[in-house]
Symmetry: C2
Subunit: 372 residues, 2 copies
DNA sequence: GGCTTTTGCGTTAACGAACACGCAACATAA
DNA sequence: TTATGTTGCGTGTTCGTTAACGCAAAAGCC
């Protein structure tokens, strides 16, 4: 590897001059510059990141902007854990990470957090852009030269360093695939529950599901954030059940609300239909007769505690998860390597789509899914 | 951050002494050592990797030991691509990677490759240990101080820096889960085709499948490496088909052999049973009647070209894949970061278990599954 | 006791880049 | 002619660590 010294020697100038030309600072004559640049190209000179860092020990200060940890049934504590893990591993190299939590249902609160970040002038930003419009404004203010990594949700029309998260479209397709197997032989159409608020992430799941599901798909838009909402949801579901329903797909973490509804509904109605462990999925039926009296298949997302409970009950058939902790970890790592090494890497890093069923649920630890 | 100088000053010795004590080299008295170590603990001294690297610009030379690229239907060219990608990204920091290919069915050839590696004295080794006994011997010769990363297959009783690959047990469970859905209502037992040669990776897939499958599971052990083998396999399958078969699971990439057998068998027999696209999986049946005359479900591994073809024909229902390119990339990355940063990281890094179906096959590029 | 060897530890020059400093050379002005 | 600026570029120090070197003092040997 050629060094500054090599370039300087070959160009017949001092290393100081080369340094000034490399960084375009101080004074130098155009002729010298041209000569030095030619030599740099000839020797394929690339600055040594190590020496550079050593000499000018700029800190690598990251801003981590996430919804409050307890929101979405505590979901956001998981990426946070990944962030902390990465921070611990890299703090020896001067990495600093400061977390800014915001209320993901309150644009003003996001703006407050964003202002704090802007004031702190971080070297990189890890952001879960749950409020797209506000995120856009923030990013415009932040400027081009601060690398940004999105986790969980991607944004259109913006080119951050990377998006790290699930391939939401594919996961929707997978959900449809599984649903198709679950509801084979069942009469009726497929029901999808999607939140009212637009979210690219969740819309993609829906799109993937739709594209892959051959049967009729009906979409209900409703978000549950209060008891009242839950009543509204129940009404909407009641309406939907005027027709036959073959299966239900929930695009966010609220599958447990539907599970609750279904259980109270069936309790009210025809009493004991093999629930809890003896549901239609059971492998025991392989080689036996097809299940006619099975419960309505339910497929959803994320291992939040209430979903876990209903899956233990056997009332949720499939949950797809996206390794939120890994997203936090990978995001910090990515930013660090960018700032440290100028590393670029792919625009999109997809985290695995884990398939959780009542049978393998126990293998997914309560806090998060993490190897070792 | 405390530096060598700080420690030296506080302990009343020179930095040279501290350096010797830190690295346990050269001469120093036990008393001084104790004093210095106490100070290091007090100041929480950690060596600065940057300065260390700068001062001692050791190269990071990696040995990459993989089966020949064309083996297993060209499978091994995929991890190799990942290795090359990582190499390109990190060569600016002094990373060098040399590849040693071996015939994975020839222990002597592995030994030849291993000897070359030993002679080259690499700083780290990336290894796909397809011949466990030989790998063990090689690793013993290599010594403890050279970090080793396994990809694809893990080895018992050895503690390498990391294993990067699929969670094979879980993937077997997932296969069983999918199989259970596919063969619901079909009479008979489940057939598993596993290679004769023991391989922890494939055995785990089998174990996972077995543990999760509730119905009866019959195992056929056979490897196809020649036309003769294919005849043997056909005989074994003929035998198995004396009883009813509900579905077939293949633990390695040879699902296409079974597909071939099944097609020629059904061509010989009852003629047209809705094959090719109209198989039992189709979503179209959702809401319709259960499929009685469906073909025998077939689940296997890896997107090697012949598997891809049979899946296009609709004769393979599910293929599970493991992102071989990512394994190569992550492996090199991991070794580099170990050597460079002393980074430890988890013993096991699992790559995603992708689920490929006839319907989403087109989304998996021919060469490999890679984002961007 | 004189001699060599060993032991313990300090000194110092790299390593590659950053940057403050300052010295010439030349131009301009008084 | 001398004072004052400006331009272009070289010097020297710094970052934290490594490793070669070297110098004493202690220890071993005849």
């Amino acid at each position: 590897m050629a060094t500054l010294k090599d370039v300087a020697a070959r160009a017949g100038v001092s290393i100081g001059t080369v340094d000034r030309i490399v960084h375009n600072r101080g004074r130098f004559s155009p002729e010298t510059a041209q000569r030095v640049k030619a030599v740099m190209k000839e020797l394929d000179y690339r600055p040594n990141v190590l020496a550079s860092r050593l000499s000018k020990p700029r800190r690598c200060r990251l801003a981590v902007i996430l919804p409050q940890a307890q929101q979405d049934s505590g979901y956001w504590s998981l990426p946070l854990r990944g962030v902390e893990r990465a921070h611990k591993a890299l703090e020896g190299l001067g990495l600093q990470a400061k977390t800014y939590a915001y209320d993901r249902f309150d644009a003003a609160d996001f703006r407050r957090a964003a202002e704090m970040v802007l004031k702190d002038k971080p070297d990189g930003v890890l952001l879960a852009p749950m409020i797209p419009q506000e995120a856009q404004i923030f990013l415009a203010q932040l400027g081009e030269d601060v690398p940004v990594v999105f986790i969980d949700t991607d944004l259109d029309g913006i080119s951050p360093l990377a998006y790290i998260g699930q391939d939401s479209y594919q996961s929707g397709r997978l959900a449809a695939r599984l649903m198709g197997l679950l509801c084979r032989g069942l009469p009726g159409r497929l029901l999808v529950l999607a939140p009212e608020a637009r979210n690219r992430h969740l819309d993609n799941r829906l799109a993937g599901f739709r594209d892959f599901a051959a049967g009729e798909v009906a979409v209900i838009r409703s978000s549950v954030e209060s008891d009242h909402d839950q009543d509204v949801l129940a009404k909407l579901l009641d309406d939907a059940f005027q027709e036959d329903v073959a299966g239900i797909f929930v695009t966010d973490a609220s599958a447990h609300f539907v599970a609750e509804y279904l259980v109270s509904k069936s309790d009210g109605e025809e009493s004991i239909q093999g629930r809890s462990g003896n549901h239609g999925l059971s492998m025991n039926e392989c080689g036996g007769q097809s299940g006619a009296n099975q419960q309505i298949p339910l497929v959803g997302y994320d291992l939040v505690p209430p979903n876990r409970q209903w899956m233990e009950q056997g009332r949720i058939d499939f949950l797809l998860t996206q390794r939120p902790e890994d997203q936090g970890y990978a995001g910090v790592n990515r930013l660090f390597r960018r700032i440290f090494f100028q590393e670029s890497g792919p625009r999109v890093e997809h985290t695995p789509i884990d398939i959780v069923t009542p049978e393998n649920l126990a293998y997914f630890p309560h806090t998060s899914y993490q190897v070792e």
